[in-house]
């Protein structure tokens, strides 16, 4: 049997290039005659445009062109609706998409109004500063709860209110559950906005070559193939004339999805118009406004329970802030709705959400993509119920977990992939038990905490559970080729932003073909290398592309065995693939190297049998019937300084189940990073808008990201419940770390400040907000 690489912590193939500064990121692309672009963006959240004065900018040195909406002609079109509404009865859905440059109105601070093209970026920015926008300022729509009131200004004048969507989904009959309840817990909970803040800002280089009628676009996108297809249509080109390359990307986390951002749509148009390559690289301040954001929900939730803590039903009504436009449909709100019930066996659920337009940046998925909101609501209600009923919080959860024999478990509502929300598999109790053991729950509560409290310390414990819907369809594909050198090349359509695809996918192929992962060269994110696919989002890369690669590698393996069987005149069953060769079992000297076999499979003379395909190559696809549900438990011990409300995380434990693990080293990295983002979201990061819709903290000096001295060491363990929905048995893991951190903080801080009578119903927190909450509770 060949070495099995699947499941091994293999060092990454991509690292040497990244570590030595030799990996190409979008801003590293430099082309002769390249021009540079800067945007003039709206300084107002909401205003009617009277005129855009660009004369002074056009006269600036080095300026080649200045464009406004009026210059775009028929190219000025709202962007595509990226995700259609789900097939839910009586849905209201008013899609409104962003436009390339604002024409009649501006709807958020940072919305592009004009674009300057100049010989270099410095000159382009100089000129952009000379643009003057003449407007009638309109009232901003900032507060979610005010957005639907009659007094609110209309973000989109053609709608009679700021209503993006209204969706009701039901499981069972909550009204009946409520009547049977011994206790009803009701609370209002808030979750405010944050930003992904990938360390690489967005960027685009567009190069139209008139001579060969070819458009090449380097784009910091997670989904190059949809971008290729969409831009080809907009530009009136064949898809074959457009090549989109998503090179190395400095973090994605959602907002770099197939957005058809204004800049993404404009740069190729400018390049065609000027017949020169053009580059735009977003700066950090622009990233705070112009890149999509997430969160911003208010929930009115209630839970009906029996006296002994059994959940009978849950009702949740919430408002979701879509921002000024809603190109990504209802994905974020649907995720909140569909993740709320979590690991719990709840027979009756009523969930109603209203998505509203505001004059704030556009909201699309960011790591977790609305799942954290649902988990926050559910876990908080459970904590409050546990207190009311005087039941231990872990016991409270234990009593309500879906038992292992109930899988597949149907929640009877529609998920973001429009398939019924059915958990494919799960085994929740062992992970909870393991987390309890690792954090030493009983001993902490019995011995440690009383001792610390006696010593005047405010130390608390939190423990929460979550599920993560991952690996949704529709499909991905891959082409696997054995080259004459014996090396293997793999092409797939998704983009990669640091997830280690060059290694984990190589491990999958290496196992099938009997080579080492270093001998497998992966190409992702280049539409010239692979034509079909959707992209990297929703924790689907490993599940969907991974299984497509597995299928293609299996097909190549079959071709290798057949060809070698012919060549060696040995039955296929007697052959094995080891050390880069096919050899006869028990007779290793009778062997053909894979490279030699590849050459023989591609003869240059003579005849081949009818139906013979050349080479050792195969293309295959994988599409799951629905997503695979991963799950986990986070636990932590935190110390709060009651005077400054600064916190120190003393321990942080994650027990995670994402089915079969391809590379545990990479998986742990994903969890660490997710937790760090969750910690930022829970306690440090918040986008603060004033009543005029101005973002007050659009820099890294004011928007606090977690740093090495605030993120603790994270202890991890794994439970493995394989997904039956794909041959590799894997589930996604990209978002898991970030999802349950908000409620974990809330519970642990309440526990630490047990004498403050605190009930934390909002995220993000901060030392000053915590100080206010404690003062209010007094």
């Amino acid at each position: 049997m060949a070495t099995r690489y699947f499941g091994q912590p293999i060092k990454r193939n991509e690292d040497p290039r990244l570590l030595t500064g030799q990996a190409t990121f979008t801003d590293d692309v430099h082309l002769p005659e390249m021009l540079h672009v800067a945007f003039y963006r709206s300084p107002y959240a909401h205003a009617r445009i009277r005129a855009v004065h660009t004369e002074a900018a056009r006269a600036m040195p080095g300026v080649v062109a200045v464009y406004t909406a009026d210059d775009l002609g028929a190219y000025w079109q709202p962007g595509p609706l990226l995700v259609p509404p789900p097939p839910v009865k009586e849905i209201i859905f008013n899609p409104r998409m962003q436009v390339p440059l604002a024409r009649d109105k501006v709807r958020f601070v940072g919305e592009p109004v004009a674009v300057v093209v100049a010989e270099n970026r410095y000159l382009a920015e100089d000129a952009a500063e000379q643009i003057h926008l003449d407007v009638e300022v309109l009232p901003a729509v900032v507060d979610l709860e005010q957005a639907l009131t009659p007094a609110a200004a209309l973000v989109h004048d053609d709608l009679d209110q700021n209503l993006n969507a209204h969706v009701i989904q039901r499981k069972g009959d909550y009204t009946r559950a409520r009547q049977q309840a011994d206790i009803i817990i009701q609370r209002k909970l808030r979750y405010d906005r944050g930003t992904a803040a990938a360390l690489e800002n967005r960027g685009i280089v567009a190069h139209w070559e008139a001579r060969n009628q070819q458009m090449t676009i380097w784009d910091t996108t997670q989904a190059p193939i949809p971008i290729r297809n969409g831009l080809a249509g907009m530009l009136g080109l064949s898809e074959k004339q457009v090549r989109v390359i998503a090179p190395f990307i400095g973090g994605g986390f959602g907002p770099k999805i197939m957005m058809f951002y204004q800049e993404e749509v404009l740069l190729p148009w400018i390049s065609m118009r000027l017949n020169r390559p053009v580059k735009w690289i977003e700066d950090r301040q622009e990233n705070f406004y112009a890149t999509t954001q997430e969160r911003g929900q208010v929930h009115w939730a209630e839970m009906a329970l029996t006296r002994d803590g059994k959940i009978l039903g849950v009702k949740d009504v919430f408002l979701h802030d879509a921002g000024a436009y809603a190109p990504y449909g209802l994905t974020v709100a649907l995720n909140s709705q569909c993740t709320l019930l979590g690991q719990y066996d709840v027979a009756h659920y009523y969930s109603e959400f209203t998505s509203v337009f505001t004059t704030k940046p556009i909201v699309t998925p960011y790591r977790g993509a609305g799942r954290q909101h649902g988990v926050f609501v559910m876990e908080r209600l459970l904590d409050i119920a546990a207190k009311e009923l005087d039941i231990d919080r872990v016991e409270m959860r234990r009593r309500n977990l879906i038992p292992p024999d109930k899988f597949p478990y149907s929640n009877e509502i529609i998920y973001q992939d429009f398939a019924p929300l059915t958990y494919d598999s799960g085994n929740y109790l062992p992970a909870l038990a393991r987390a309890v053991e690792m954090i030493d729950y009983e001993r902490f509560l019995r011995e440690e905490q009383p001792r610390l409290r006696a010593a005047g310390k405010h130390v608390g414990l939190g423990i929460v559970t979550y599920v993560e819907g991952t690996g949704i369809g529709p499909y991905e594909g891959a082409k696997v080729t054995v080259e004459a050198s014996g090396r293997v090349s793999v092409a797939t359509g998704i983009g990669t932003q640091g997830q280690g695809h060059f290694t984990s996918f190589a491990q999958i192929v290496a196992d099938q073909l009997g080579v080492t992962p270093e001998q497998v060269r992966l190409v992702t994110g280049d539409t010239a290398e692979f034509y079909w696919g959707a992209g990297t989002f929703a924790s689907r890369g490993a599940v969907v592309a991974g299984n497509a690669i597995h299928a293609a590698a299996l097909a190549v393996r079959r071709k290798i065995l057949k060809k070698a069987s012919d060549e060696l005149e040995v039955d296929e069953e007697d052959l094995e693939l080891v050390d880069g060769a096919v050899r006869v079992k028990g007779s290793p000297q009778t062997a053909i190297k894979l490279g030699d076999l590849a050459v023989r499979a591609n003869p240059m003379r003579g005849a081949v049998k009818p139906g013979t395909e050349p080479g050792l190559e195969a293309t295959d696809y994988f599409g799951p019937e629905r997503g695979a549900t991963a799950s986990g438990v986070h636990a932590m011990i935190v110390e709060v300084d009651p005077e400054t409300m600064m916190i120190e995380i003393l321990r942080y434990v994650v027990v995670h189940d994402c089915g079969a693990v391809i590379n545990p080293m990479i998986l742990e990295g994903q969890i660490h990073g997710g937790v760090a983002q969750g910690i930022g979201n829970a306690f440090y990061e918040q986008l603060v808008f004033d009543e005029h819709g101005q973002l007050l903290n659009a820099s890294f000096m004011d928007y606090l990201l977690p740093t090495a001295d605030t993120v603790p060491r994270i202890e991890t363990d794994h439970v493995e419940t394989r997904s039956p929905l794909n041959p590799l048995g894997i589930k996604g893991a990209g978002e898991a770390g970030a999802i349950p951190v908000g409620p974990l903080f809330a519970q642990a801080i309440e526990d630490a400040l047990h004498d403050a009578n605190l009930e934390i119903l909002e995220i993000p927190l901060s030392p000053s907000r915590l100080y206010e909450l404690v003062a209010e509770a007094k």
Binding site: D15, T20, G21, S699, D709
Partner: protein, 157 residues
């Protein structure tokens, strides 16, 4: 048009002479004039540390220095650490072994911050490492594996 200034400096042991605008940032000079794109820019306001390079052996943020300020100085960028991608610097090797990078965008800044730190303190404690790295932002790793890489690294002569 702005007046141009001559600068002469050494980057990764190579001497360069250029005539540049005084407002040209050192990061842009390295990346776009010299083609040394391994130095990355994450915030343009000195907060994230991605653009860190060495100036006369000291870690500096190239996005808040003008290139003219480097006149007469010796700059080292991430491209100057390893002889080639097959033979990594021990710190780069440690990052790889500990999975101390994911997207890799912040990594050059972390490496260049650590080089002078480890020269001064070759066997730091975890707390010292975390403190030394607290001015560099990584959005992918949660820092743990970076810290582990530094704890495990052995830099010989």
């Amino acid at each position: 048009m702005t007046e141009l200034y001559p600068v002469q400096l050494t980057v990764n042991g190579m001497a360069y002479a250029r005539t540049i605008e005084p407002r040209l940032l050192l990061s842009d000079f390295l990346r776009h004039e010299l083609g040394l794109t391994g130095t990355h820019v994450g915030c343009e306001h000195g907060s994230c540390g991605a653009c860190t390079v060495l100036m006369d052996g000291q870690a500096v943020r190239s996005c808040i220095l003008f290139a003219v300020q480097a006149d007469g100085h010796e700059i080292t960028t991430v491209e100057g650490l390893a002889a080639n991608s097959a033979r990594l610097h021990p710190l780069q090797e440690a990052f790889r072994a500990a999975h101390g990078l994911q997207c890799g965008y912040c990594t050059p800044g972390f490496l260049m911050t650590l080089i002078p730190f480890l020269e001064e303190n070759p066997t730091p404690s975890e707390a010292e490492i975390r403190d030394a790295l607290s001015g560099n932002i990584c959005r992918c790793t949660g820092y743990q594996n970076i810290v582990d890489a530094v704890l495990k690294v052995e830099i010989g002569d």
